[in-house]
């Protein structure tokens, strides 16, 4: 079999504002691969099936220079490299094994990778923390494993289980950043439901009436549009808050600190408001001393080994389409925005960043 095209997405320029499809990222078809004969060097070759498009991409596109010369990413994980045309773009993805020199990784098995290159075929050297075998549960598409059953769902589940210390009757406040799933972030979508399942009163804020209605439909007790309603007024009336799930940062975080109950837990999951527009300084931080607040920044990976089994046991069961849900997880409210083909990655990234994406964004690279 002759070599075939191995299309990929390259990271081309660091954007100043929103990423620009075709400029920030470039779809490239200049490489080829021979699936049967290209050397594996003990690794295995994977055909990429689905890729996740996530808000955190934006943080990895940026770097900033500290006054002392250190280049640091402003967000999770390492920045995307921008040194040559061979530097690929990557993210969460699932693929199927086509050929393997690794006894643990049989042909036909599936691989879940946190740094899956945005490329049709990938030679992966070995399994590891970020490259794991994954099994599909009956009735579920692979795409859900980069969504509700992937990093976003795991982020919500692990962060909530590890740090919320939720007790019935407490008050949870959840903020939503740029839209992703049915107009709110998939992470917060699950957090609202976990908070309800644990018996807390849920206050939720978002930036549009559509999002507010959606949050009410999945169980938020109090939902409001922070663009038209004063967050502080709501929190003073409905609070004080015991648990704050923070996806926004900035002034809303300041408001949450002001209205936190003693011994409140703040779960810092991101600050998407800062991704494109810079950091908003925090004014009330020192109030955390007198209020005995605990603030937990976290990434999902270090927590996953502890909660992985419980996560799949709880959510994969509930996710089966058509089954009656005995958990908060509501398949009927879960939807994906599917982009067909690697060449759509740039458009999908922009849609997630500017909030026009209304569902969990996935790129379907290939059918199995």
């Amino acid at each position: 079999m002759p070599p075939i095209t191995n299309a990929r997405v390259l990271f081309n320029t660091r954007p100043d504002g929103y990423p620009v499809p075709g400029e920030t990222t470039v779809y490239d078809t200049s490489e080829t691969i021979d699936l049967e004969t290209d050397p594996l060097n003990g690794g295995f070759i994977v055909k990429v099936l689905v890729l996740s498009i996530d808000p955190y991409f934006r943080g990895r596109m940026k770097v900033r220079k500290s006054p002392y010369g250190l280049i640091v990413s402003v967000s999770f994980q390492i920045p995307y490299r921008l040194q040559s045309k061979t530097d690929w773009f990557d993210g969460f993805g699932v693929g199927v094994v086509l050929r393997s020199e690794n006894a643990q990784v049989a042909v036909g098995k599936h691989v879940y990778c946190a740094v899956m290159p945005h490329q049709q075929y990938v030679v992966i050297p070995e399994l590891g923390e970020y490259v794991r075998l994954i099994e599909r549960h009956p009735g579920l598409p692979w795409s859900i494993y980069v969504g509700a059953l992937g990093m976003p769902g795991q982020t919500a589940f692990c962060g909530w289980k590890a740090y919320s210390e939720a007790k019935p009757g407490e008050v949870t406040f959840v903020t939503t950043g740029a839209g992703e799933h049915l107009s709110i972030s998939l992470v917060e979508w699950l957090v609202i439901q976990l908070a309800k399942a644990d018996g807390t009163k849920v206050i939720a804020s978002a930036g549009s009436e559509e999002k507010v209605e959606f949050m009410k439909s999945i169980g938020a007790d109090v939902a409001f549009n922070y663009k038209t309603t004063d967050t502080r007024e709501v929190l003073e009336k409905e609070g004080p808050i015991d648990i704050f799930w923070d996806n926004v940062g900035g002034d809303i975080l300041d408001a949450a600190i002001e209205n936190a109950a003693t011994f409140g837990r703040f779960i810092e999951c991101g600050s998407i408001s800062g991704y494109n527009t810079g950091q908003t300084p925090l004014k009330n931080f020192s109030l955390m001393v007198g209020k005995c607040l605990h603030m937990h920044g976290f990434l999902v990976w270090p927590l996953l080994p502890k909660y992985e089994e419980e996560f799949y046991a709880t959510l994969a069961r509930s996710s089966r389409v058509g089954s009656s849900s005995d958990f908060v997880f509501l398949p009927r409210e879960y939807s994906e925005e599917r982009w067909e083909g690697l060449e759509k990655v740039g458009d999908a990234i922009l849609a997630v960043q500017n909030g026009t994406s209304k569902a969990k964004a996935v790129v379907i690279v290939a059918e199995e």
Copy 2:
């Protein structure tokens, strides 16, 4: 026995900047008490022996009005009231019981109180969370029970034990606020020694060469004057830091976040820089997500029941003057600045706030 003068300190005006003796607080001798016949209503009467003068007083003197009408203290505990001349000033203190109608509280026993009125004689209604019986260890003066063995020592010990998760070889960064003990805060004085005892490398910063030398003398591996040396340069060279004991807040906290190791623990003990000059907004807070930082605001009271026994067992033994110390606690480095008489409370408060106090400030109200 006729009534005798019961001198006291009243809170007179809220200061704009530093507290002014005789104006912020007023020494008042207009009240009398009959020690033998004044009604106790089931309580007990205490002759106050020693009072602690602490940095946190400043926070309790301030209130601020939120945009929504709520009056909140900017610091620990409830603000000092300022409604009438009967509103006393209070703080940590030790007294001896002169008369009692409470079977648990025998005459001659001693009482440790977190809100001891700054007054010669006090009728206390009952024991409770903030009013507890206390026993003196051989060879130690009562004053040490409002210092190294009182709230400051307990704050350091409980905060460190609860939140540092210190492991040998890690790096601790301790900042010092306004001076108190031998030119640095007594809290930090103990934290430096606890951090060393747990095998961490200790970086410490203070605002004068004298403080820097003192911190080195009690074990800091790296000590520097933040007024003449760039904090970020030191942290980039000596860090990253795993544990940050923060008594300052503001820009140094920002620098600590920048130079924190993944999974770093920030123990937020106060932000004295904000007491007199207002809050410095925090710019780098959102970096805590990617670094998985954990920030713990705390007050000593909720933690004390868990650590009290270990605290006294460890420190009271080590504090005995002349004994060989098998703990980090070094009695020879511990000193008090004693102010004789209630009328000196105002001067002592100012000295603690403006940093001229060079030792743990105590007011000796009476000999036993």
